[in-house]
Amino acid sequence: MAKGGPVRFLRHPVVQYVAAGALMLVAIAAATAWLSGRAATNQARSEARRSTELLAQSVVEPAVPRKLMRVDVGAVDRLDRAIRDTLALADVARVKIWRRDGTIVYSDQSELIGQRFSLGEEEVRVLEGAPTEAEVSDLGKPENQLERTSGGLLEVYTRITTPEGDPLLFEAYYPLDRLDVRRSAYLRAFRPITLGGLLLFLVATTPLLALLTRRLEAAAAEREQLLVRASGASEAERRRIARDLHDGVVQDLAATAFGLSAAAREKDVPPQLTERLQGFSASLRSSLRGLRSLLVEIHPPDLQATGLVAALEDLVAPAEARGVEATVSVTGAELLDERGTALVWRVAQESVRNSLRHASAEHLWVTLSPQPAGVVLEVRDDGDGFDPDATTSPEHFGLRGLASLATDNGGRLDVESRPGAGTTIRLEVPAR
């Protein structure tokens, strides 16, 4: 048919099902990764908040000495000695303790001690009593200029109190690399459930779909064969009827017409009767011509004898009455054997009929020509065209039957058509 191998492959139901399944797998993988990442981030933030609160309440706040608010160096030393080893164990990348005015009163990065930066709104809120907050650090901020991490930091801040009762903001920074580890862990946990389940479903259902498709294709092939056989039986029946009519009724009518003409010419027949007999004879001859045309329509009596050219011209004769300009061009007919000639006639007959009945064409071209691959019949029109993939039209089954017939006879039938672009039916028949 009109499409090539790759197109047919892509339109196969099993291929489309597997492709849709693969797309779904990719979509679910992406969604799972996103959800895992979000869950991991939330979980990591939550854990970081808990860790920071625990660190602040159980380690840092009890160790805060007096005078830290004033950035007393001795107080800074004492706090540093008290908490530094614990911070290292807690996997904290950086610690800062802020005063309300934005002064860093302590940091494990000693260069920051005593420096002053502006606090964000959320940090101020936490300092004033809001719950612990966690967010990804903006490493572009001035207070983070000394950070050398490549993977980013998660910063968590909570409130602590000095022995004098003043509030301080304790801020702990954690490497974001931990998020990736956690995200991978979540992904590993979800993947077998989501992707594995869908993959198993695909693996289980694809063979079933393939089986159903094979059954449908077998049923379609069987129906084609039935059509071909029905067509063959119809051809044989037409041939028998045509032969019977030709050998019986046509001969009898011809003899009767001849007898009437002869009787009319006899001298003892009254002139009035002669005229009537000649009228009967003319009427009989007219009926005989009509009957012979009908016989040609039913079955060409002998394509080899009468010639394919004349038969094809007879075939397109009704086109004129329908307002279609038909052109017949035949070369290389002598290269066809009897089977090839019959096949050409059968395909031309079906194609011309379809065109005249359905195409609403202005032109119809029937061309037979020798080609390197054999003899090629091309029936082309500039009519409405149709979708060769549509399986609902009756012509489709007729064309598929012809295609099978062509294949059975060593030929090949191609249909090129699309809505609004006319139709070309091309038959390749091996030369004898």
Binding site: G74, D77, D80, R81, D108, S110
Partner: protein
Amino acid sequence: MKLRRTLAVAAVGGLLAVPVAAAPANASHGSDDRVTRTGSCSGSADWKLKVKSDDGRLEVEGEVDSNKNGQVWRWRIRHNGALSAKGTKTTQPPSGSFSVERKIVDLAGTDHVVFRARHVGSGQVCRGVINFG
């Protein structure tokens, strides 16, 4: 480590600020980030003060050698004038000495470190100063 640390020296001001010391202190520093000063206390004891960089902090080590076991000394470490650490130590055999070691933060600029020890019984005072950085 800051390069300037390798050029750290004990400040002259440290010497001038030891009114009770009987003899001038001696300073030395090696090729790494370390400064050592030694000197005599107001009595017969000697003191030694070391400051060195250690993993982003300064390690301060003060030592008093009186050659007498069992003496009780009160000691203090001041950092930029603020009290960083203090305590009481007893001289131990065989040398009749004691030493204390504390880490302090390495602040921007020069760190002024003072080690002071006073013998509870006699009032003898030892005082060493290092300006590090």
